[in-house]
C-alpha cells in the first residue's frame, strides 16, 4: 500500500480555536447554523496519513475510498489477548467494527449483508491498534471512551460514526470482499473490503480531544433538571 493519503475538502475547515474566539454562540439555533456553514466534507483515500487525520474535526463528514479492514471482538482478542500480530499491515488503516454476513463461493468470499456493530464493547483495543499497528480511523457506532480519545490525540487518530442499521447501503458501498484473514474465527475474522464512497461517516472523536458523544451527553444532562421538572420528578 504505497499510495499517499489524499484529501479534498469541499468546505473550509473550522478549528476549535476559531469556534471559541467567535464566542457568539447564544442559542442552539445559532449554534446549528454556524455548524452548517463550517462543517467540512472530505473524500479520503486510504491508507490515511497523520496529516489528513489531524485536519478532521468533530461533525465533519467523511467518505472513504480504497480499502477498509473489518474487525470485531474476537479479531482483537486474538491480536491483543493471544498476542498474534495481524497477517496484514494496518498502517494508516481505517478499521470498521463490522458485522459481516458473507458466504464463501469456491475460494472467494461474497457479501450478503455487511453492517456495523456497537463500538463500546471494543474500547479497550483501540489504543493498542493505534499505537502498535498504526491504525488511524475506527469506524463504528455508539462511540468509544476516554482511553481511545487519548490515543487519538497522541497518535493522530479519529473515530468515524456510521449510520447504524443502514446495512443495505453499506453493503452496496463495499465493492468487494478482497480478503478474509483468520477464516477460522469467521464471522469475527479480519476482513479486507474494497470500498467506494463509503459513508457518510461523521467525525465523532477527533485528534484534538473533541468527543461529539460526550458533548451531546453533557448538553442532555444540562437540560435534564428542566425535563424532570416538567414531568413532575423531584430529585
Amino acid at each position: 500500500m504505497g499510495f499517499e493519503g489524499k484529501v479534498k475538502a469541499e468546505v473550509k475547515v473550522k478549528t476549535k480555536a476559531k469556534a471559541k474566539i467567535k464566542g457568539q454562540v447564544k442559542t442552539i439555533n445559532h449554534y446549528i447554523i454556524r455548524m452548517e456553514k463550517e462543517m467540512a466534507t472530505y473524500h479520503l483515500m486510504t491508507p490515511l496519513t497523520e496529516d489528513v487525520v489531524r485536519k478532521l474535526y468533530v461533525r465533519d463528514a467523511v467518505f472513504l475510498n480504497g480499502t477498509i479492514f473489518g474487525i470485531r471482538d474476537l479479531t482483537q482478542i486474538r491480536i491483543f489477548h493471544h498476542k498474534t500480530d495481524p497477517p496484514v499491515s494496518l498502517q494508516g488503516a481505517a478499521c470498521i467494527h463490522t458485522a459481516p454476513s458473507l458466504k464463501k463461493v469456491g475460494d472467494r468470499w461474497e457479501k450478503i449483508c455487511v453492517g456495523t456493530t456497537t463500538s463500546g464493547r471494543m474500547d479497550r483495543f483501540t489504543p493498542g491498534l493505534m499505537e502498535k499497528y498504526g491504525v488511524r480511523a475506527i469506524i463504528g457506532k455508539g462511540g468509544q471512551y476516554q482511553a481511545s480519545l487519548e490515543a487519538m490525540k497522541m497518535f493522530g487518530g479519529c473515530y468515524l460514526a456510521i449510520v447504524g442499521g443502514a446495512a443495505a447501503l453499506e453493503t452496496n458501498q463495499i465493492v468487494e470482499v478482497e480478503k478474509v484473514y483468520w477464516e477460522d474465527i469467521h464471522p469475527e475474522a479480519l476482513y479486507q473490503f474494497k470500498v467506494k464512497d463509503f459513508g457518510p461517516l461523521t467525525v465523532a472523536m477527533d485528534s484534538h480531544g473533541n468527543h461529539l458523544y460526550y458533548e451531546v451527553r453533557a448538553e442532555a444532562e444540562k437540560r435534564l433538571p428542566e425535563i424532570y421538572k416538567r414531568l413532575g420528578i423531584t430529585t
Partner: protein
Amino acid sequence: MGKEIFLNEGGKGMAPFSYPLVEETAKELYIRALKILPPDVREALKKAYDKETNPTGKETLKTILQNVEVADNQNMLICQDTGLPIYMVKIGSRFPVDGARVASALKEGAKRATLEHPFRGSSTHPVTRVNPQTSVGEGLPIIYWEFVPENDYLDILMIPKGSGSENMSAMKMFIPADGIAAVKKFVIDTVLQSGANPCPPGVIGVGIGGTADLVGKLAKEAIARPVGSHNHDPFFAKMEDELYEAINSLGFGPMGLGGAVSTLAVHIEWAYTHITLNPVAVNTQCWPARRARAKIYPDGKVEYGF
C-alpha cells in the same frame, strides 16, 4: 408498501389450513420483516427528517431513508442484525388449532428462513457462546400466545429483535411510595444511559405494572405497536406524549450525534400489579422498527401485512 398482499388466495383448488403452511408463513414472515419496513415506521422517519434541524442529524436521517430505499429496490436486508425471532400469536376462538404444532412450525420456519435465505443467525448458547447459525435453539424462537374471541383466523406478528437496542433495555421494581414519578424518571434515565447505542431514533417501549416477567413482556408488546399509536387508556396515552416530548428534549438526535429527533415514539403497555409492587421496564427498539404480520385462515388463505 402498506397494502396487504394476498399471497395465497385460498378458495378453490387451494390447500386448506395445514401446519406446513404455518411453517412456510413463519419463514416468509422472518424474511419480510428483515426487508420491508412497516409504512408507519417509514412515515415517522420521513417526518423526523422534515423536523430535524441539526445538519448532522438531518444527514443521518437522509442516509436512513436512502438505506430503506436501497433495501426496497434491491431486495436486501435493511440491517445485518437479523436479531432473535419473536412470534406474537393470536389464536381466534373460532379457529381450532393445535398450539404445540403451531409452536414447532414457527421454530422450523425461523430456522429455514435463516438457512435458506440465507442470512446470519445470531442465536447463541449463553455460556459456551456456540452459535448454531439457525436463529433458534433452547427457548428460541420466543413465542407469545394470546386468545381472541370471535376471530376465525390465526394472527402471527413476527419481530426480529436486534441486539444494539435490546442490550439497552432495563427493568426495575420500585415500591408504591416511589409513585409514577419514579417510573417516568427511570424511563428518561434509561434513555440517557443508552445514548447512541440503540441506533436512535427508534421506539421506546415502556411496561408498567404486573410482575417482573410480565412487565418485560408489556414493554416488548409496546415496541410491537405501530409507531405513534396510543394506549387505549387516556392517562397512559398522555404519559406517552409527555415522555416522547421529554426524550426529544434531550437533544441526542439521530444516532446520538445531536439533534431534535431522539425517538420516533414512546409506547406504554400496562397491567394491574400487586399492592406492594411498582414495576417498570423499558424495551428499546432501533430505528428499523421491523415487524411483519400474517393472518392465516381455515381455507389456507394467507394475508400479509404489518
